[in-house]
């Protein structure tokens, strides 16, 4: 069995002697007899390193891995982008991997500066002034955004566009039970959010926030200008869940007057990873900074006047504010943020634009090919960027299963809420910069077979 405890028997004996004990069991004498576990854990004995590796390989072999077994056209907040070698080689250096939260800034300038750079780029992408050092994922970033807005406005109602990722909305709903927020579902019309018209919302319980996704879950580009207008009209904050790749081409939510912009940072440096660890991106305007959830790194100087970085405005945080904290988050996703800034640094200004452009090109090409298939129609008419939804003549989940037999992960089967008629025939298809014309053509051919069966 692999053993990671250094103590030899002689050392254990010497240490016990030092503290005046004669056996290891005596270390636990303070634990009432009745509570002690007789006979130890019912967990299999330990294995050697090689055996663990074999076990893990066996488990890994029974999954369908993108690249190895499947060509991926699934997205929905989890995208199959290329991760350059530099990310694996530098972001995961053990100094970053095995450090704790930077409580001692003098010996944590590495992580702190990387986070400062990450915060800077997040703000540049989203058009915001402050960004935190990360939250758990896209969903938790939405929850924190809603909490911030409710606290800032003193209004507990949040209008949530149905274009927001359904699973993120489920998470919002779960946590709203604790905070008592009143979440109002705002429908989509032909792919984009149909906000309540003039007059509604200004009444008895006006919204504290509007939450919209950009582009939304169907891949459609929401009209943020319109949303901003509704927000101004109702006195609500505009919260935008933004695809950070999309803004390589699209105007930033900040440009449109968003107050808080959140996002799922997985596309930058993080493989699909079966859904985690991912990266909750969170940014807002400067006047909201004192309500910012999570950690914030700021620049300062040391006693010799040398530039230095430190976590700041800590009085927002749970360890100091306790029950009055702006959030309960403590451990976040720092390492994933470091991977993101390394990947972003590799992409650079031109590269991020090109990445988005290549996604958009592939999406256009794939959309034309798929809509060319008999019986397949667009699910929404609104313009898309890097993902699109179609209605199939067959149940979408079945189509996905059948496409898998062809070595293709066809997309994500949409729930009935997205197909007007209540059937589950919607398929969400994402195309990244990795997809070649040949793969897209093969996709269309396979899908045609599947739907015409």
């Amino acid at each position: 069995m692999a053993d990671f405890v250094p103590h030899t028997d002689a050392e254990v004996a010497a240490m016990l002697a030092t503290i005046g004990l004669s056996s290891l069991d005596e270390l636990f004498a303070v634990i009432p007899e009745a509570l002690r576990l007789p006979g130890g854990l019912d967990v299999a004995p330990g294995l050697s390193e090689a055996d663990v590796a074999d076990r893990a390989a066996l488990v890994a072999a029974t999954n369908g891995a993108v690249g190895r077994d499947l060509v991926c056209f699934a997205g929905g907040g989890a995208y199959d982008h290329d991760v350059p070698a530099v990310v694996r080689r530098v972001a995961f250096r053990s100094e970053f991997v095995t450090a704790y939260t930077p409580y001692q800034p003098e010996v944590a300038q590495g992580v702190l500066q990387a986070l400062f750079e990450y915060q800077t780029v997040v703000c540049r992408l989203f058009g915001m002034e402050v960004a935190n050092a990360s939250l758990y994922d896209g969903a938790s970033a939405c929850v924190e955004a809603a909490n911030l807005a409710v606290a800032a406005t003193g209004r507990s109602t949040v209008w949530v566009s149905r274009g927001v990722h359904p699973q993120w909305r489920q998470v919002l709903a779960t946590f709203a039970v604790g905070t008592g927020h009143d979440l109002v579902d705002v429908p989509l019309v032909d792919g984009t959010t149909a906000w309540p018209a003039e007059g509604s919302g200004e009444g008895s319980n006006p919204p504290g926030a509007l939450l919209v996704q950009y582009p939304n879950h169907l891949g459609c580009i929401e009209d943020l200008a319109a949303a901003a207008q509704v927000a101004r009209r109702t006195g609500a904050l505009l919260l935008v869940a933004c695809d950070p790749v999309a803004v390589g081409l699209l105007r930033s939510p900040g440009d449109h007057g968003a107050d808080v912009v959140v996002g799922e940072g997985q596309p930058f440096g993080t493989p699909l990873s079966f859904g985690g660890p991912y990266l909750g991106m969170f940014a807002c305007t400067r006047d909201l900074v004192r309500r910012l959830p999570g950690r914030l790194v700021g620049e300062t100087v040391d006693v010799d006047g040398r530039r230095a970085y430190v976590t700041t405005l800590r009085t927002r945080e749970q360890d100091i504010r306790r029950e009055k904290a702006s959030s309960n988050v403590c451990t976040n996703q720092t390492l994933i943020a470091v991977a993101a800034i390394v990947h972003l640094g590799w992409l650079g200004t031109a590269g991020l634009r090109e990445m988005a452009l290549r996604c958009a090109r592939g999406t256009r090409y794939a959309r034309q090919a798929v809509l060319g298939i008999d019986g397949i129609e667009p699910l929404a008419g609104a313009p898309v960027l890097r993902e699109f939804a179609v209605r199939l003549p067959v149940a979408a989940d079945l189509a996905v299963e059948r496409m898998a037999d062809e070595g293709i992960l066809a997309g994500i089967a949409l729930g009935p809420e997205y197909s007007g008629d209540g059937t589950a025939d919607g398929l969400l298809i994402a195309v990244t910069e990795r997809r070649t014309r040949a793969e897209i053509d093969a996709y269309a051919t396979a899908l045609e077979k599947v739907v015409s069966r």
């Binding site: 509570l35 450090a99 704790y100 800034p105 500066q113 079966f274 859904g275 700021g298 800034i341 200004t349």
Partner: protein, 516 residues
Amino acid sequence: MSLAGPGPSQRRPGEAVMSSAAGGKATGAPLMGRDEEPTLFDLSSPGRRAASFRHTGVPEWEADELVAPEHLRDQPAPVAEVSERDLVAHFTRLSHRQYSVDLGAYPLGSCTMKYNPKLCDEAASLPGLTDVHPAAPVSLIQGWLALLVDLEETLCQVTGMHAATLQPPAGAAGELTGLLLMRAWHAWRGEGETRRRVIIPDSAHGTNPASVTLGGYQVTTVASDERGCVDVAALRRCLDHDVAGIMLTNPNTLGLFEEDIAEIAAAVHEVGGLLYYDGANLNAILGVTRPGDMGFDIVHMNLHKTFAVPHGGGGPGAGPVAVSPRLAPFLPGPRPARLTDGSFGWDRPERSIGRVHSWHGNALALARAWSYIVANGGDGLRRVAEMAVLNANWLRHRLRGVYDIPYDRPNMHEFVVSAAGLRRRNGLRAADVAKRLLEEGFHAPTVYFPLIVDEALMIEPTETESLQTMEALAAALVAIAAGDAADAHEAPRTSPVRRVDEARAARHLIPTWDAR
């Protein structure tokens, strides 16, 4: 925008091509010259790039053919413009400005900064685990589901609970999940309105009260007694039928085992409350005793503490929550499940509180923990607890008479000393001890926590440090206590930067490079 760049020669105003700092110059640490490390933005030069993209054969439509003008940004979003060489050198140098477990001991109380076996890194980086889409149909994720079910069952065995959710991505998320389970339980029993308070000890970690608030409850703080444990009498006084439950850490944040836990459990259950176990200190009792056996109803674990998920400079972690049978129907879903035909699938608990994560939790962190448990096995896990507790008690003995030890009795995996006496005697504060320790090649303990101890230094050696490392750590702490305060105020002197002006950071907030 003022900026101390790397050397005058770098800053030729107006000379466009000089916009970038010197990416090939090692900076700010030994081997690395004396300058500050420039940022990615200082290193940027217009038009420089590292990225390249696959040849796909897809038609090369222009942006304006693909996006309507009102949506299209007129300028590319400014990111950075650096070469791969400068990018790599920059982050490699930053790594040399970062202390970590892999460089030395990290006795940061409450954080369980043990060494994380490299085999776990590799197990969690297999393409068959990393390259799996979270929305893939069950037929394509049988391996992942099997791993998660196996992990869930093992964690239940370790905690003595019945069922668990692996979705919470960290401890605090686990806490909030647990509190929502508490809420759902009481609501289902028709007491949703009447149960308003959650009790936490004054020694509790900050996330506990913060989570209580987010769970929609009011915090009632119960004092610790002179032994450093929950004052049972005081607890009984605040127990009533409006109490939803109590959150405890056992061993508590003083590293002391709550010996009266059985009595506490009985008292809380008597008024219909539930017991929540904050598992941050689980490392101390692996295979020795279990929260379930103590009477807890809800347990969260910090896999990034107990089960060797490295902390990543602040995360990611994983905070699974395990519960007793009666709470299982309320767990978040979907849950990985073993089906009758032996295959694996998803299952939604009948009265589920719903999702708490975008997908299935921090899956790769869960895979790391799984591999750590498989490697150690039941026997190995108990040895982990034994050596963690042995190291901590040994070190407490060594520090006797040097630092005040407010609760000087057998501790578990960690213990708290106070610099209050030192401060009185020669002006040495807990922070000074911490900074001096950095100079001696160790990370500092947790300082000023728990709040109930003045000038607290919370020390958790963990089981992976050897006796010889303990000796060196003890020697350093002893020397520091004997040292001169004026000298200590100068510390740290060997680190890439010296004491940082935290007040200034808050006063003139500079949250981004552009805000300079």
